[in-house]
Amino acid sequence: MAFQPPRLGPGAIYLRSLDGLFRSNADLIKVAEIEPQTLWTKATASDSLPRGSRGELRFVCALPQRMLAHGVGYPVAGTSCDQHRHISEFRLWTEELASPWVSEHLSILDVRGARGSRNCGFLMPPLQTETQVRLAAQNIRNRQAVLDRPFAFETGVNYFSLRDFEIPDGEFFRAVADAADCGILLDLTNLWVNDLNGRAKIGDVLANLPLERIWEVHLAGIEFAHGHWLDAHSGKIDPELVSIAAETVASLPNLGAIVFEIAADRVASFGPTAFLKEVEALHELWDVTKRAPATPKPAAEVGFEVHDAPTPESWECLIAERMLPAEERPGNAVEELQVRAVDEQSFSLYRRLVSAFRAGTIAETLENTTRLLLLGIGETALRDLIDRYVAATLPAAFPTDEAFNFRRFLDANPISIPGLNEILKFEATLLEAAANNVTMRVALPKDIGATLADIAAGKLPRFSADRPVAVFEIGVDAVPFVRILDEQPSGHAA
């Protein structure tokens, strides 16, 4: 493996809400890791490809940091692994960002359901077998070829316990990296979570990794919920993990970056000062890397036994059976794969996490609709409504699709709340204008602002059937705008 990453330094995942902090703290935040897909939008047409705005790409490229491209949504461990549809856009971003290497997850997202390939809603771990090593390695070689850039896979969190026939975590990561001749993005938080949940001791995993292949380290905050420690990206890095990280990075001869991660919906409560303190902590770790040996201590000999093991297809079939809505499940029994009671518990956790993701997405994209539903039917009924929606529909990779699907669900399962239809129409139009980058016209009560104000004040909107109606024009032409074109006779909202 000839690639030696440049030493970029400590940094953080870039979020739009942190843009000002990145631009005003270039001396502290040395690396901006861009997740391009989080900045893309997907149009509403069913066959549309997600893409980013060229203006936004230029804006991001003007960041004062060195940049890295980190893929989300197109992982490399599955039998279904896109090497075509998203590549041209991702490659464009990678080139414009001048990312020295790129990374993606050693995970599975799309599985074969009864009606074709389906997003299962979560980055699921692969079954760690010899066949899976070959599959992942081939996917990675193909991805490297189409992106024409050095590639590192991210070591993932895994809420399952190891099976007898599986290759232990460290040996598995090493086998994939060696077979693909690629780099490793060592997510120490994921390994730490796996350790705390009893899956694998972090020291054992690290002892088996090829240290010279580790180009990048991720660190983030964790959280305990639903009986498990979760890779929640919730804020402050666990001090015990910082100690482990200090010991680990001191032995990495080819480390190019250490990156702090925080989820977008945790930023406001964590605050900018705390965020910058975490990056300062990464600087202390980075100083340790300057003493790393040129030649690392060799990893332990790989000594895993090869067992007769279920195929990757069988594992993905089981994921589809447990994660997809009933009508989408493939329905064929997975006889060669014994499902333990602890596996069912893990699948239950994954389903709860998916449900939390999807509910959070609806609350973010249709915030006023969600708040009005809460005011109108109460929390218990709202949670029940969301549960029924999640159980009946497929997850969507892009939040706009999730919002449109939820709107269709509400249309098919109408709820009588004053103002609900108009607020849902208003918010869905905002989303459609944003997703399709078009100007939309919609007839709404002229005083839609009063309805929004009532919701903000925590009360049900005042409602009258003969409110004046106006045509609103909503668009995103350079800057977003909402304007009233004209007024229509009362009671004619389309």
Partner: protein
Amino acid sequence: MSKNVTVLVHDKLNLEQCQKVLAAVLTKSGHTGCFSGLKISFENVVDPANLALLVDKGLQVNEIGH
């Protein structure tokens, strides 16, 4: 879990503020990021008990209620 957070839209939301809502929508239309924990946005909306943030006209977020 840390204290809950919610974001309230200003109570005199006019067309200008609708534009701010649209701008906020634009920041939420991308693919979900890379993490495997809970997304707490929904919990924030249903339980704004501990902390509320007010989005002002400049899209600045200010803490209120404390």
